[in-house]
């Protein structure tokens, strides 16, 4: 029987060469294009998704390695697109061109899940692998702090 992977709560058969990186399975096979291609070598963060809740660079992980696991992409981060980070992103008008932002948000979400009251230095360290060529870093920092407060209230 073919292997499957669960993506945003739905199960998909892995019907491609298992060596294909998850990124291209998402983009070209499932046409889930919210996850972006930026570098293809795990140095820019544009392709970040969650693998069992953990931020992962989908451009370097073969789809065979995620068989039986749970993947969340930006499209599935929150049911009504109302994750505290998404709200904080809008509130601070973070995106410029927006291309890197799915990766930024996915990386930040997995980080905040582990550290709900980060210091600015901890944010820097956690977000270091995500490039934004438009230069939205200042707002990303503010938005993450803001979302952390919001998440703190929720629990």
């Amino acid at each position: 029987m073919a292997q499957t992977v669960t993506i945003n709560g739905k199960s998909y058969e892995i019907n491609v060469d298992g060596a294909m990186p998850l990124l291209w399975f998402l983009r070209d096979k499932l046409e889930l294009t919210g996850t972006k291609f930026g570098c293809g070598m795990a140095v820019c963060g544009a392709c970040t998704v969650h693998l069992d809740g953990q931020a992962t660079r989908s451009c370097v992980i073969p789809v065979s390695a995620v068989a039986g696991k749970k993947i969340t992409t930006i499209e599935g981060l929150a049911e009504n697109d109302d994750h505290p980070l998404q709200k904080a992103w809008l509130n601070n008008k973070v995106p410029q061109c927006g291309y890197c932002q799915a990766g930024q948000i996915m990386n930040a979400a997995s980080f905040l899940a582990k550290n709900s009251s980060p210091t600015p230095e901890e944010i820097d360290t956690a977000m270091q692998g995500n490039i934004c060529r438009c230069g939205t870093y200042q707002r990303i920092k503010i938005a993450i702090s803001e979302a952390a407060l919001e998440l703190g209230k929720e629990v």
Partner: protein
Amino acid sequence: MSIENVSRRKFIKQSGLAVGGLWLGIALPNVVMAKLGLASEAAFNPNAYIHIATNGDTLIYCGRCEMGQGISTALPAAVADELEADWTRVSVKQGDGNEALYGPQATGGSASIRVMYIPMREAGAVAKAMLIAAAAKKWQVSAQDCYADSHFVINRNDNSKLSYGELASLAADMPVPENIKLKEKADFKYIGKDLARHNQGDIVNGKLTYGVDTKMPGLKYAAVVHCPVFEGKLKSLDKTAALAMDGVEAVVEIPRMEVPFGSIGGVGVVADNTWTAQQAIKKLVIEWDLGPNKTYDSKAYKLQLVKNVESPAQKAAERGDIEQAFANAKHKVSATYTGGHLSHSPMEPNASVVWVQDNSCEVWAATQSPADIQKVLAQYLDRDPKDILVHVTMAGGAFGRKFKCDYVQEAAALSKAVNAPVQLTWSREEDTRTGYYHSINAQHIEAAIDEDGNVSGWLHRAAFMPIASLFDDQVERAPAANLGDIFNHPFGIENIRTETGEAKRHTRIGWYRAVYAIFYGFAFGTFADEIANKVGKDTLTLLNNIYDNNNDPKQETQVRRSKGALALAAEKSKWFSRDKLPKNQGIGIAVHYSFESYVAMAVLVEVNGDDIKVLEVDCAVDCGQVLNVDSATAQMEGAVVMATALSLRTEIVFREGAVVNSNFHNYPVLRIDEMPTVRAHFIDNGDKPTGLGEPGLGPFPAALSNAVFAASGKRYRDLPFKPSTI
């Protein structure tokens, strides 16, 4: 008037746009068009449209291309304000590439806002007047008895209301008013306010689609590898291994198309997904004939440029008598500055979908210039430009790179070969190595200082591989006109000579965000600091002196606004308390005028050994009326991020004709941990708005160099300060 009622015109229907309601076409004033070199014969050429539908939905069709700089929000805000529209009912639709419908659509030179602002406001005001006229007719009252508010026309007599939707079709029968009075600044509701950009919601949920995201039935995916050296070509190709791969459909030679925006030449692979295509590329066995540029070495070339500017070069322009000025000088100051090649490296690599069929050609591309796509593909396919249909998608950054459509022409070549729609996505490596790079450059300046400490003479030599060489391989140095920004710099210097040094082309050069302002801003701003140091003045005082010495009445505005920006940057930063900074910190200041905007920056740094950390940047900006404070601020933040990287360390290096850099590990753009605090301060003087996409890059490198000097006594005269070691 640049507005016309086109509600009943045939081309609206022919273009497949919704009919009914009120349609206004908006044209750029002809003088502006002429200035941009875009003048056209026809009497009326709309560039944008407003459609008020019968349900009140107001759609603005904007032919200019969005790249993240917020045009598609700033311009509609101008319309909505004059229209008294309900902002939430107004949306923007990116126009397809269609010059018949939109006229020239190129986006660059920070021109969009400058050119479109007044016409957009006028269009809003015209639409409002026509809606009011329609309501007045319906109520049988005079127009004076009616006013517009939030998508309704209201009858003053009895407060009855008619919605814009109800009025739209009737308004289409009203005459276009001749004299329109625009609102006063104090009455603005949307202009200059913090408005969310239109597409932000779709960005944070991953639904906004970019050039790389186009999907359609039957789509094939492709990758490409290029000849590593400009003007080289394919010698031999063994495609057996690639073709043997599962999912690979075709391996296609793409010869160089010898037009400036055509393919540099390479080999493409078409497959059933991008990854397979990329893997197949690696299996190609290729031999290149590297051609005439195979010895190009950018380090050696830069040293040669330095020689070329440190000895007499070709005169570009002269004013006064600089020999005399130097003969009478009390002090002489001289310095040489350099800068390396840069790659635009937007986060979205070059990508497009093209479908070439026997009787049609359709393109979906993130592009800054759909017209160039039409032109290049028309030439390539031997068709009429108007038969090339270009759909403009959102671009994931561009910075000048997506002006050139080599990547689209390659997709066309592949589509033609396999007879299907093909999506070609460049790898990051190809994107880095196959650019249209920022000019490698050197400048040498000598200044004569008289006994009163005034700058009396200025010799300025520049040598840089010019953009002109992309269009003409005979060009051996920057044309004199490219040095106009030196000669016309608003510094008040009586005796000046500019010279242009030899700089032959060895690669493709193209516009990079801010273009010449990067290196001219660096040279002027750093050299001013060096002069100040020599004559024992502080840089702010010296700069004010130099500006005050400008007696040219034509430059009165430039002088006043440059000084205004400087004063604001100094006031908002720690400039006046710089004596109290810790020993290893320093603050530097610079101002630069470019693209009709004035930006001064005060940069605070901390220097520990070789380590430079930018702490704070205060940007003082005079760009006339600010249309959207938030996106203007974002442009400054972005400029600082890009300028920090290019000042400190990013550089494209050529060795044996080819680019050595490949990806972000060896083209290390700025990351979040190096982000300084950026504050933008606007001099809102109500002047006509000027663009902000580029001018922020001009003053930063100099302000940074000056700050590092203040903190450590070490002077950096080369961009990047720390040359790439790859």
